[in-house]
């Protein structure tokens, strides 16, 4: 994805890591990680890049609409590769068209943007990460997944 023009989607991301990595590039503050939810989705793009991998995915709602999401992963390539998720293995596991179950925290600004905390394949195996302890509320097919209840005041946002 070269620009946000293709940003029709969004990503989800995934993953992993040690809690101390949580602060890397200030990931936590952008997303509601206290209310994770799950959904089945189809990968449309995956970027194995610093400072954090990113991905886009589509999810189909119960009424047949397709939502295009963008998301980041919590981990980074150095952590992934040391956990055995090399670039080639990760790219293969998340190649476009792959169906995956995602554990998502929606962006605090709302919309189809989030952070993916865990990814499972159709066999139920955790992939491209090592956060096996993550849980979430099932929102598969629910339009918008789990969205903020209202307009949040975001720290640093222009008034």
């Amino acid at each position: 994805m070269a620009s946000l023009s293709k940003k029709t989607l969004t990503l989800s991301a995934g993953l992993l890591l040690s809690t101390v990595m949580w602060a890397h590039h200030g990931s936590a503050i952008s997303y509601d990680t206290a209310h994770l939810w799950t959904t089945w989705a189809t990968v449309t793009e995956f970027n194995y890049l610093n400072p954090h991998p990113s991905m886009t995915f589509d999810r189909t709602t119960k009424d047949g609409n397709v939502e295009h999401w963008v998301a980041e992963l919590l981990t980074n390539p150095s952590i992934l590769v040391r956990a055995g998720w090399t670039k080639s293995r990760s790219m293969e596991a998340l190649k476009p068209g792959t169906r995956v179950k995602l554990y998502v925290g929606t962006s605090r600004a709302g919309g189809f943007s989030g952070i993916v905390m865990k990814i499972e394949n159709e066999q139920g195996e955790s992939i491209v990460g090592d956060r096996s302890d993550v849980t979430g509320v099932d929102k598969d097919g629910v339009p918008g997944g789990m969205q903020p209840s209202g307009k949040q005041k975001l720290p640093g946002e222009e008034k």
Binding site: A2, S3, V20, I29, P51, S54, S107
Partner: protein, 324 residues
């Protein structure tokens, strides 16, 4: 030195035997227990090592791969490697008690908008008045201006204090024994510590640089490093504390047990701070190189911050903030 590189050990012995190191050429037959070594520190030193390794080692040999998150490499946890900052989730900042800022320092501090720390305006930020405001003003990355978010160099203090959850550093004593090379995995950066007797330069005669100019001398088994000549576009740490181009940074490195390396930093920067600022103690664990291996290739990863990658990533960040 416990399990690092056999080659490094051989090099060390060879150099030491040649009388080039200034340290004994013969390794002690039996080193004292780590706990005892701790007691040999300064009286105010409350550091307690969880290292159980009592094998002999050279206290002036810092060679090796070091991490503050040894569990990532399948090694025992190192509780003292977690920064003893005032805030449990503070990551790795300069910490200690921030020095009062001058008017000029405060202006620069206010201009810096970090994305790490307690969220600005949150209930927690309002309640934790025991913490310096620098730890209670985090904004969304999309609304901040952290130089790291543009892949600008982190600068020396930040390279040292921020090793992330597993980012590694490597210390290499040059065989010529005139300097120590320090390499940092995150951003693939490095610095030289000259121990050839040179003086710290008159900084007005030199081009400021992100990692400054470093000289060092041994005080007992403590390596005392003095650095100056910093490019003031860097932040002192991830919380956006500033550092001026006339700052002097002192690092006191020692090797209190076979598998621990530690440093305490003191920033003296009259331009921005009215008194010196001493950091918290930073502790690393020695990682045997065979433990730090990917596909059989051991050592520090080339973990660069690539501007084009960062730019792509920032589009996601902006999207997450609803920023158009």
């Amino acid at each position: 030195m416990a399990n690092y590189s056999a080659l490094a050990r051989i090099t060390w012995y060879a150099v030491a035997a040649a009388g080039l190191t200034g340290v004994p050429a013969v390794m002690p037959a039996q080193g004292p227990p780590a706990a005892q070594l701790m007691k040999q520190g300064k009286p105010e030193d409350a550091f307690i090592s969880s290292d159980k390794d009592t094998r002999p080692y050279q206290k002036r040999d810092f060679n090796g791969l070091w991490s503050r998150n040894p569990r990532q490499y399948g090694l025992p946890a190192c509780p003292e490697c977690s920064d003893p900052g005032p805030w449990p989730r503070n990551g790795y900042g300069f910490n200690g008690t921030p020095a009062p800022r001058t008017a000029e320092g405060e202006k620069r501090f206010q201009a810096n908008k970090p994305a790490r720390g307690i969220e600005l305006g949150s209930e927690e930020a309002k309640q934790r008045t025991d913490l310096d405001i620098g730890l209670r003003r985090a904004v969304l990355p999309a609304f901040g201006n952290d130089p790291e978010g543009r892949c600008e160099p982190l600068g020396l203090a930040r390279l040292i204090t921020f090793s992330g959850g597993g980012a590694t550093m490597e210390m290499i004593h040059a065989p010529s024994n005139d300097r120590i090379i320090q390499r940092f995995e995150w951003t693939w950066d490095n610095r030289e510590i000259w121990i050839d007797g040179r003086k710290i330069p008159n900084i007005d005669d030199y081009l400021p640089r992100y990692n400054g100019y470093s000289t060092a001398k041994w005080e007992g088994d403590t390596l005392v490093v003095t650095s100056a000549g910093f490019d003031d576009r860097q932040w002192l740490d991830q919380y956006g504390y500033p550092i001026s181009d006339h700052a002097v940074l002192e690092e006191r490195w020692d090797h209190p047990s076979p598998n621990r390396l530690r440093v305490q930093l003191t920033l003296t920067d009259p331009t921005y701070y009215s008194q010196p600022w001493k950091s918290s103690l930073k502790v690393w664990t020695l990682i045997p190189k065979e433990k730090m291996s990917v596909g059989g290739w051991s050592g520090v990863l080339e973990d660069r911050c690539i501007p084009s990658d960062e730019s792509l990533f920032n589009t996601f960040r902006d999207h997450a903030a609803g920023k158009k």
